[in-house]
Assembly symmetry: C2
Homo-oligomer: 341 residues x 2
DNA sequence: TTGTAGGCGTTATCAG
DNA sequence: CTGATAACGCCTACAA
């Protein structure tokens, strides 16, 4: 059909006036005759006129595009953060481009290249688990594009950050297990160069130390990913130990559920034989048998705050020099997979 | 830092040549001296030159933006479709803008407006459950922007479609329940103006009729949404019926899991007292106790094919007049929440 | 109150 | 082999 979009010049010609008058009329410029305004606005509506954003971008050197880099979008965790971001951005003139790295550093670099190419105005990023170098992010920063890092920290990158106190979450979980009488507590961790994995491990270790429980090497196994299938082998090794643990603290809910599944297959009773606590509070988690104890994180708020901070750089005066570092607290939710205190 | 982006003219000036020569050199135009090419390309790299996409869009009347409209992104179902789409699009020059409607028609209309404003080149859409009018989609179509509808049909809109044989999936599930000896089979459905809900209901009804099982009004309850919480009340009503059903076929896994949860709370044994089958095969579903029987759908393929069809319109010759309608088959996966045959 | 001209960055056409 | 020019759609001084 009508392939060619209606332009300001089309309207001008039909009305026998100049394009600039049309432009001004459309913007309600005070120095335009009322009748002219009316005529222009009427015709614009009739012809279904929309201003060409590309022309405006070119003029204003601003694309109104915000890039989001995340590890993946299929987990409830990250998709909820995105929802939080979108719910803020939807009220603005910006649009977001979401690009998942699939936990690959190479993909991440390619995404950044693409973002530079299309000219994003701002970047929200949660780095991949395999990201060790940050040259690509610095390249963005050097171009004057504001960055906000969320959930997973990116050490060495001096930008705004919205994180969660993973250390404290883990500490709470493990101290609870200790108080409930567990003596030998194991940990299924995540990829170690991830700040979140590291801090949860640290919380686990400190909880043991504080309570004078010796740390046992064989009680700590790091999964290579965060999916159910990544948790099966680690769970089996732990459950088959001669000195079997009486509790498992997993770095996220999927791994915890895998552990629960394996424990049940071996006919262990949960939480009597073994307590299990996860991390993230996925929506399914309370529907398992037994319902999974876990750490809740304010995912939606993380998304919203990250977006708000980025917008403040984009919209606000350029003179906000201080780099912000916001840390959300997480919350222990005790259900049936851990013993009562 | 260096706020202003490097342009072709910057390079031209430094090299004392014209912008057009720079442009040609950058594109490896045959009619350019090797030394000039080298000099230009070297300087371009040194200065970190990137072509301005907005200028190109303006010139070519093409934004290279693809819009995606989906009900929500937090379910594994839709986020997997998106992943399928992205995995195709990532190899092209296009970028996607994902906008969730949150099942609201008003949001959907607003998103379409925004898409027209920013000038998307193509649209992938799975309509909201409250969408009855399709004027907004027709507006897109009239502008010559190709549309592919996926998963949920949009009756009346004559565009390419990538759907799933929901009817057949439901038929398979219910016929299995019948063969396994269930006599009174209930259905927890979804919002009825959704093609998927309707077709699954039809499959349920036809399975009963084919097997001469009378359809009972009180065995069919429609949930208002697709989340766990939407399934609780419907499940309770069914389970509290004097003439309690011995099987429940739910329109998706979340509702099925809610039903399982409620049944367990009432101390029914699954599948002995009551069989349960869901739809979608969410990743968690096999980890529940008992593991949930369900219908698997090729979500990832739905996303990929939809993207491919859209691209064929965008890239290919404009002369592909036939409207495609692709229907994927779904597959019954029997686990432990239903009796053996 | 309105029109003209120039420019945002790039490419295609035409000319040399 | 290379340069000047116009055009994509819009806005804003400046001029009238």
């Amino acid at each position: 059909m009508s392939k060619r979009r209606v332009t300001i010049t089309d309207i001008a010609e039909k009305l026998n006036i100049s394009a600039s008058t049309v432009s001004r009329a459309l913007h309600n410029h005070p120095a335009i005759k009322k009748e002219t305004k009316k005529a222009v606005q009427k015709l614009a509506k009739k012809l279904n006129y929309y201003p060409n954003q590309q022309a405006l971008s070119l003029l204003h050197k601003k694309t109104n595009l915000i890039g989001i880099i995340i590890p993946e979008i299929t987990s409830h965790f990250f998709s909820s953060i995105i929802t939080g971001i979108q719910d803020i951005i939807v009220d603005t003139d910006y649009n977001v481009i979401i690009s998942p790295t699939d936990e690959s550093y190479e993909n991440e670099v390619a995404i950044v290249e693409n973002f530079i190419k299309i000219g994003i105005d701002g970047l929200l990023v949660s780095p991949s688990s395999s990201t060790k170098k940050i040259k690509h992010f610095k390249k963005i920063k050097k171009r004057g594009i504001p960055i906000v890092v969320f959930d997973r920290d990116c050490p060495g990158l001096k930008v705004d950050k919205v994180l969660v106190d993973d250390y404290d979450g883990a500490l709470q979980a493990v101290e609870y297990l200790i108080k409930s009488g567990c003596k030998s507590i194991a940990h299924i961790g995540g990829p170690l160069n991830l700040s979140t994995s590291k801090h949860r491990l640290d919380g686990y270790l400190d909880a043991l130390r504080k309570n004078n429980i010796p740390v046992k090497e064989e009680y700590i196994i790091h999964a290579t990913g965060f999916l159910h299938e990544d948790g099966i082998l680690p769970s089996r090794s732990l459950l088959n130990l001669k000195d079997r643990p009486d509790a498992i603290f997993a770095v996220n809910d999927c791994l915890a559920i895998a552990a629960m599944h394996e424990a049940k297959k071996l006919n262990f009773s949960i939480p009597n034989d073994i307590s299990i606590i996860g991390f993230d509070d996925e929506p399914h988690s309370s529907y398992f048998t037994p319902a999974l104890s876990t750490i809740w994180q304010p995912v939606y708020s993380i998304g919203m705050l990250s977006a708000r901070i980025l917008l403040s750089h984009l919209e606000g005066s350029e003179n906000a020099p201080k780099i912000r570092r916001e840390i959300f607290k997480s919350e222990l939710i005790i259900r049936a997979s851990s013993r009562n205190i």
